[in-house]
Symmetry: C2
Amino acid sequence: MVARYTKNGNPTDVIKVQTEDLGPVSPTGVVVKMLYAPINPADLNMVSGTYNFNPPLPAVGGSEGIAQVIALGSQASKLKVGDVVLPVHQGLGTWRTHANWEEGDLVPVTSIDIKHEYLASLSVNPATALRLLTDFANLKSGDVIVQNGANSMVGQSVIQIAAAKGIKSINIIRRRADFDQVVGTLKGLGATVVVADDFIRNGEFRNLIKSLPQPKLALNCVGGETTTEMIRLLAQGGTLVTYGGMSLKPVVIPTRSFIFNDLQCRGFWMSQWYEKHSVEDRLALLKELSALVKANKLQLRLEQMPFNNFENALNRAINSSQRDKKIVLSF
Amino acid sequence: MVARYTKNGNPTDVIKVQTEDLGPVSPTGVVVKMLYAPINPADLNMVSGTYNFNPPLPAVGGSEGIAQVIALGSQASKLKVGDVVLPVHQGLGTWRTHANWEEGDLVPVTSIDIKHEYLASLSVNPATALRLLTDFANLKSGDVIVQNGANSMVGQSVIQIAAAKGIKSINIIRRRADFDQVVGTLKGLGATVVVADDFIRNGEFRNLIKSLPQPKLALNCVGGETTTEMIRLLAQGGTLVTYGGMSLKPVVIPTRSFIFNDLQCRGFWMSQWYEKHSVEDRLALLKELSALVKANKLQLRLEQMPFNNFENALNRAINSSQRDKKIVLSF
């Protein structure tokens, strides 16, 4: 069974779950059984045709997930039956019970012994969080970062990875009905400060953070005013990294900050990181994240839903306005 | 005689030219006679009190210029009478006929044999242009840069230094009465393309530049819409550097460009470069610029005006709406 779309559009309209003949296995091919596959926002954008990378049509949805090898082509030599594997490229299509892929499209992760639903969900959001905290500033224990969209799965991962490294986090979330509960959740994950986006221009906010060093790094997945406010908080020589734009508003940078505070603004796209890095780099990244998971320092809020009720899972992923739990398809 | 201000405000109101007793020369002091000193916009902002660095009051205007040593303190050992020198720090106050400074505040440039009015005018605008073209992208012959404010003295220097290195430049200027004449001037300096800021959203503009490689570097001293348009022109991995904000509008960056095109936005402030670099680095920078001047590859459009008619020179510097010639005080 596959969740396939033959044209771009509203995911609930265009995705059809259908049976599929796997076809012949090529000499270097492998047949896999999917185990778990998350529904990420980027996947939905690919279906809509609004993402920066849109697979050729017809396409199967889903870019992330883990699978187990159940059969091999005659010349497949790198993998063996029983291996647990991840897809290397985005757009391979993970929302399906079985697939017939090429060996070279897969990375074996059998040796990483964490729960499979977790392993299926590390490559996009937690991986982004780790790279954001690693590649843009030389952060040491006691340093401070600030982020918006802090309740997203990237945001929650940032809080936990930062806390594990002794880095303090100032977290900005939207004002919402269950605000106090979300604050509690994020503080439970290790957030130093959690505030609503309507509070950051308030003098009390400055009071709240005055005992902290100025942030070296600001992480932006929202755009608009909260991003400009984060820039104003940055220490001399600080960096803003934009990895999303949920408000659909641009990043607005006051000229004085740029010139006199020696700021840098950068962009980050996890898919591009993967394209530019080796499989070994990818495995090192997964192992670092898995070690945090095993040490109980990185929890992911996942909600498993069976692929045989795909429509339900898709609706839940689309309509989960809070987006504080990730829907993971189980097969 | 010194051009002094005792409070911040409108330069024509608060600056008074007055006589001054030089006072005793310290053991490590030197007495200099000023030769030439430009009137830069940053100097006027310092007088107004609106710059990022404002000297303690009372203060003498002017940060750039050259002087000649006419007397030495008993322990001054690095300089000798007759040496030609530049001030190391901004805000030292160069709008005066004579000064009593410390040896450590001065860099000897006697060995650089270009016209003194040129040597007096390299440290701010042409130095900025050279750093902008050197420190933010790995530019090779045939590469393209884009800049706004292209008729400023930095902009004119960028055009010429780029041309000397085989780098093509796309130059954006304001629409103005003498537009055609300015286009001619900038092309004469080596500009590849010169367009008005109301033209860059025009499809014809895209036609005009379609045979050029996409720019690796965008230089911004304006802010607002032209800056956003420059960002849209940048090649994958390109960099925008902001060194001024003449429109008083911020830099607005579309989120997609940031994330998917792997762009960087940076700030640059020449004064900070000087603070972070050695006197040897400064001399190397001056020598590189002087070599371009000697090779007739870098012309500066200067207008000399005598310090004994300071009021006139100041008015000319303030009201020169075109700002395509730099007023240089001669002593």
